[in-house]
């Protein structure tokens, strides 16, 4: 593969945009918004190009870029994508682009908002592309700060509480991740070529995966009676689990969602949660395959992961059912949906990982749509109380159709994208953990129950006078939702459009994990 700068182009375009935007006077709102659209639109086009150019049959990293950065500590600017990251890069670019349009009405410190939004895109894309653990970590933190300000400044009434909660929670995870990362870096120097290492300290994720595959971590000193790789796995898991979010680290999510402005909720649910799942796949599973799978069967750790996934599915769904706030309900439904991601990872087989990755992408579109839906009604009614609505289907037919599409995708109706992720995760998990899978299906019923209750209360029933004058979707809102809606339907019937890109990488991961 010849050296290509496509990834850097995708990564750095928003940064250039942010820098350019700084030179624009803050009163020129239109210019700023147009610039934001352009500088998120360009990466979107490039990511589509990347998606098309990507060689599906090749399970290795492609479009790799390698430049030395801090030679003393062997830190490199090392980018590359495989089947697991390409769809997520595309999703990031798409949602950020739509996010710009859905925040067109932001008039409070517009310039700052869009600069932060562009920086956020840099951080997220960087995480998905990094093959150097240090770089990964840097981008991970880069993403954190814009998010903090975006919630903390442009959020709802309790924005400071939510932003600080989000920040501290993620920071806790980052610190654990940092500890594990440094430990891995330090120990990697002791691993020779025979055990997959290169005999010198490295942050390279590919080398680390190689060490994991060759069982090279086993030589590291145990601590408090637990092996090195288990400690690292645990610390990294907590770091990623907070992002996913896994019970009991999920409580930042409802608060952050409720307070965040619409576009930020969309990005938060659509992409940020996926970073956790992606990290689990990319780092935990690849670098420490023997923690999940040993002696031809799942380990206690895998069972624990599956149990947490089950709790997420059932618990999240039940919690969602009790919510009165539409946005909080959607937030808890995200918790339930991300449970399937964990189930798939715990199973660590093709079907399970396919379910996990499909679920990540499809939840990205469906939950993003749901938050847009909530945003639309909040813009009009200035409240989100489910009990307070009724009969919206009568005079907002377009809006209701889109909302139904989002809701039914989310509750996993076959024929729409959401089904395949859940079904595949269950298929995969059933092979390994039949009992846990059976319990998890309760979540399917409860999810249907609370979404249908929402439909009944918000969209059905007699049309109320106070909502009679609400306009249906305007062009801007419609444009935001149409691409997502199309993806929901298209991927419902042609999941291979996504899975085809991921299969070879998934197969590689499974092969590595199952070799233990």
């Amino acid at each position: 593969m010849p050296e290509s700068s496509l990834l850097t182009a995708i990564l750095m375009t928003p940064l250039v945009g942010a820098l350019a935007m700084m030179c624009v006077p803050s009163e020129r709102r239109d210019v700023i918004k147009t610039m934001a659209a352009v500088f998120t639109g360009l990466p979107l086009l490039l990511s589509i190009f990347l998606y098309v150019q990507f060689d599906r049959a090749n399970p290795d990293y492609q479009f790799v870029e390698f430049h030395s950065w801090v030679a003393t500590f062997n830190i490199n600017y090392h980018l590359g994508v495989d089947g697991l990251s390409v769809p997520l890069v595309f999703l990031t670019c798409l949602l950020l682009f739509l996010g710009v349009f859905s925040s067109w009405n932001i008039n409070k410190a517009t310039k700052g908002f869009f600069i932060l939004l562009l920086l956020l895109e840099v951080g997220i894309n960087g995480v998905f592309m990094s093959l150097d653990f240090f770089l990964f970590y840097v981008f991970w933190e880069v993403m954190l700060l814009p998010m903090y300000f975006l919630i903390g400044i442009w959020g709802g009434p309790r924005r400071e509480y939510a932003a600080i909660k989000f920040f501290l929670y993620t920071l806790l995870g980052s610190i654990l991740m940092l500890v594990a990362m440094i430990a891995m870096y330090l120990y990697s120097g002791n691993v020779g070529a025979a055990d997959g290492g290169i005999g010198q300290r490295t942050w390279n994720l590919i080398t680390m995966a190689q060490i994991g595959l060759q069982g090279g971590w086993a030589g590291a000193p145990a601590f408090l009676g637990m092996q090195f790789q288990h400690w690292c796995f645990l610390f990294l898991f907590i770091g990623f689990a907070i992002k996913i979010p896994v019970f009991p680290f999920h409580t930042w999510l409802p608060d952050a969602h409720v307070e965040a402005p619409t576009a930020i909720s969309v990005i938060l649910a659509g992409i940020l949660l996926k970073l956790g799942g992606y990290g689990l796949l990319r780092v935990n599973l690849l670098c420490f395959p023997d923690v999940i799978w040993a002696g031809g069967g799942p380990t206690a750790w895998a069972t624990g992961l599956a149990l947490l996934g089950m709790i997420n599915c059932v618990y999240g769904a039940f919690c969602a059912m009790a919510q009165k706030d539409f946005k909080k309900l959607v937030a808890y439904s995200s918790v339930a949906h991300m449970g399937f991601v964990l189930l798939g990872i715990a199973a660590a087989n093709e079907a399970g990982l396919a379910g996990c990755t499909l679920q990540m992408f499809n939840h990205g579109t469906s939950s993003a749509m749901l938050f847009l839906v909530v945003g639309v009604i909040y813009d009009r009614a200035h409240h989100r109380d489910i009990e307070g609505f009724g009969g919206l289907a009568g005079h907002m037919p377009m809006y209701s159709s889109v909302a139904f599409l989002a809701i039914f995708t989310s509750l996993g109706l076959p024929g729409l994208a959401g089904f395949w992720g859940e079904a595949m995760a269950l298929v995969g998990c059933y092979e390994v953990f039949p009992k846990i899978t059976v319990v998890s299906t309760i979540g399917l019923i409860v999810t249907a129950a609370f979404f249908l209750m929402t439909i009944r209360k918000v969209f059905f029933g007699p049309v109320q006078d106070k909502y009679k004058d609400y306009p249906d979707l305007d062009k801007r809102e419609w444009t935001c939702m149409v691409p997502l809606g199309l993806l929901c339907i298209l991927l419902g019937w042609f999941p291979m459009l996504l899975l085809g890109w991921m299969n070879s990488s998934i197969a590689k991961v499974v092969e590595q994990v199952r070799s233990f």
Partner: protein, 709 residues
């Protein structure tokens, strides 16, 4: 061209499948155009009409042109027509025409089309009823503000239902299964501004969701056991005699039974079997054409179709369970039909009861009987519903106590409904007679070949048949016969327009000419003979099942059941005469005589109350508990960590302030204190200063004086 010639069935099937979808898309996306707003029915009617024509053509080619063409048929032909292996089977995947929908490692979903006798029969039923309902709706829904949307949903439903029939894969079947549920949801809730439809639609979807989760788990288990979800592939795998693996320390037989029962959860909910029938009567809140199409003729029969489709998969234990459930449904729903006063709900319970018959038939091994009853039932029950719709359209109420004497006002509706009633009751020479007799026949056969308890299905079926005749006569009596009970409504009653009566006439004809009889143009074969019972495939893979072959009742059973049917009609008629004609003892007397039973039946056996008290309450309680747990304990812990951190911070700050800073500050404090003390001396009065100065001098002098030496 030759390629198209050899693979013709698949193109037919695809056209049949996608024409309704096209109609849906046309109406759904073109809803702003004037044409769709004004004439929303045109494109759907054309689409479904073409699909109907193609279905009939496919039916003809499958049934006539390929009948008995397999020279290698291994099972001998007996009195019941075609041998199983002799039927026409077209499996597109086998021909290389398939679409790999999903692929993840070993797990593959390949979409193909499976066409056999069962498929084409269902295709004709669905497209025909759907077409007639489309036609009927142009009259019934005329003037509704969401007229085009109604047709869009009908199209989407027809597409899903056809997909369900044509697919060759269990998981895809599940997909279409849920899609028909979705259409049912939207169509029940079509008049969402009212109070009941949204509730009913939600109830329908959720009840089905329970069944569907069981279905999905069944699919997972099947995949786990056999590694394939393709229906013909599964059958081949079972018939290959390859041993079934044992999982989770269970023997294969139990596993197969379990898989069968889990799969049956789906049909149990979809075909409204006790105890999951509660949604069907409520679903009558939807428009009547919808009730006729979805909740009488097609969707609710999908469960029966599904059981028939994988009939060879059920172990004897699973079949026993199916028979018991069917039996309970047949009798329980029939008794409720006796007392209800809502015309549509009586018909809904009747549907429920008839679906119970079908399940019963399948459970006792009467495959052809069950499927054939599905076929006849689809026409006469659709006819009954459409007639009921015609009546409702005319008198604007569903309460039969407000009707009466409509016979003269609505002659066409009356006559067609009478024909359908007789068909449902099983009067000879009407379509229902043949199918119902077949069921009783098989139930009797099963009883004879089993223990004494095995006679229960037959007994229940016979009692149910009596009740069926009775409640249908009661319905006719309350609606059409006797004196009008509400003068005003009676005066406004009128016959429906031709767009509504033509479908009635067609359906009545289909119930009258009992198409099941061996008539010449079907090549001398009756429809049930077209549907050879598949020998149990599970038995071929499991040595523990003996004699998987279901026997066929002989002539003796046919005669017996014929006599039984006559007896049933006689008893039903007598009961009706005594109750309604002679008013001796009269309906009220019955109620007085059996108050307890009446209360139970009138309370619908308290299923709703039971679920409300258990499942619904438990769900809400759990959700409240979990939510408050989440807020108090989990989030509480997080906030406590936060508070603790803050407290620690404060403590730290306090230490910093008191100890570290305190030390520094104490100097200041001391000097401050001293200065405050000494400030007192600074009176600003020179005299005082002088005094102090003198005192000082004196003091110093004294010190020098005494200490200095």
């Amino acid at each position: 061209m030759e390629f198209f010639e050899t693979t013709r069935p698949v193109w037919y099937a695809l056209l049949i499948l996608f024409l309704p979808l096209g109609a849906f898309c046309f109406n759904a996306f073109g809803f702003r155009t004037e044409f769709v707003k004004k004439r929303g029915h045109v494109v759907p009617l054309l689409g479904i009409g073409t699909a109907l024509f193609l279905s009939c053509s496919l039916f003809k080619s499958v049934v006539f042109d390929h009948h008995g063409t397999n020279p290698e048929a291994t099972v001998a032909e007996d009195s019941h027509g075609v041998a199983y292996d002799d039927r026409f089977v077209y499996w597109s995947t086998e021909e290389g025409l398939s679409f790999p929908l999903l692929e993840a490692g070993d797990f593959q979903i390949v979409a193909g089309i499976l066409i056999d006798n069962l498929t084409v029969m269902m295709l004709v039923v669905v497209t025909l009823v759907s077409f007639l309902v489309h036609l009927y709706s142009t009259g019934y829904m005329h003037g509704d503000e969401r007229y085009p949307r109604f047709f869009a949903f009908l199209g989407l439903f027809t597409f899903s239902m056809l997909g369900l029939i044509l697919t060759d894969n269990l998981l895809l079947l599940f997909c279409f299964w849920e899609l028909v549920g979705l259409c049912s949801y939207f169509l029940i809730g079509f008049w969402f501004q009212q109070d009941d439809p949204p509730k009913a639609s939600m109830k329908a979807f959720l009840t089905n969701r329970f069944g569907d989760v069981g279905f999905l788990l069944g699919i997972l288990l099947v995949y786990q056991l056999f590694g394939t979800l393709s229906i013909p592939g599964l059958e081949a795998r079972l018939r290959s005699g390859e041993p079934i693996p044992a999982l989770y320390n269970w023997d294969p037989h139990t596993l197969c039974t379990l898989a069968g029962l889990l799969l049956f959860c789906g049909p149990m909910a979809k075909s409204a079997q006790v105890p999951m029938h509660i949604w069907l009567p409520d679903a009558m809140a939807g428009p009547t054409p919808v009730s006729a199409l979805i909740h009488a003729a097609t969707m609710v029969a999908a469960g029966v179709y599904m059981v028939g489709r994988i009939f060879w998969f059920f172990t004897p234990e699973a079949l026993l369970f199916i028979a018991v459930i069917g039996m309970m449904t047949a009798i329980i729903a029939a008794t409720i039909g006796l007392v209800h006063n809502n015309i549509k709900k009586v018909l809904a319970y009747s549907t429920c009861s008839q679906l119970g018959y079908m399940m019963l038939a399948l459970g006792v091994g009467g495959y052809g009987a069950g499927i054939f009853h599905l076929y006849t039932h689809a026409f006469f029950k659709a006819c009954l519903f459409l007639c009921a719709g015609s009546v409702i359209h005319s008198v604007h109420t569903e309460d039969m106590r407000e009707m009466g004497g409509l016979k003269s006002k609505m002659p066409v509706t009356y006559k067609t409904m009478m024909i359908a009633t007789l068909a449902l009751a099983g009067v000879p020479f009407f379509s229902g007679a043949f199918s119902k007799e077949l069921i009783i026949e098989h139930a009797l056969y099963w009883g004879v070949h089993g223990g004494i308890l095995h006679f229960l299905p037959a007994l229940f079926a016979i009692v149910g048949a009596v009740l069926t005749f009775f409640y249908m006569l009661r319905l006719m009596h309350l609606t059409f016969w006797g004196e009008p009970r509400n003068k005003e409504r009676f005066d406004h009653a009128h016959e429906s327009p031709p767009s509504m009566t033509i479908p009635l006439l067609v359906l009545a004809t289909l119930s009258l000419f009992s198409v099941g009889w061996p008539i010449p143009f079907l090549g001398g074969h009756a429809i049930p003979e077209m549907l050879p019972s598949p020998p149990s495939a599970v038995a071929e893979a499991l040595p523990s099942i003996e004699g998987g072959e279901h026997g066929h009742p002989g002539l003796g059973y046919i005669l017996t059941s014929f006599l039984v049917a006559l007896l049933v009609l006689a008893v039903g008629w007598l009961l009706y005469r005594r109750t309604y004609k002679d008013q001796r003892p009269g309906p009220d007397a019955w109620v007085r005589r059996f108050p307890q039973s009446y209360a139970t039946i009138n309370g619908l056996y308290f299923f709703d109350e039971f679920y409300q008290a258990t499942v619904v309450r438990a769900g809400h309680a759990l959700s409240r508990t979990f939510a408050s747990f989440d807020q108090r304990v989990v989030d509480g812990a997080v906030n406590m960590v936060g508070t603790l951190g803050q407290a620690l911070g404060r403590l730290h700050g306090a230490i910093d302030k008191t100890v570290v800073d305190g030390l520094v500050n104490s100097f200041w404090h001391l000097s401050h204190l001293l200065s405050r003390m000494f400030r007192r001396l600074q009176t600003g009065n020179v005299q005082d200063y002088l005094t102090f100065a003198v005192a000082g001098v004196v003091l110093v002098s004294l010190m020098v004086l005494f200490l200095g030496s």
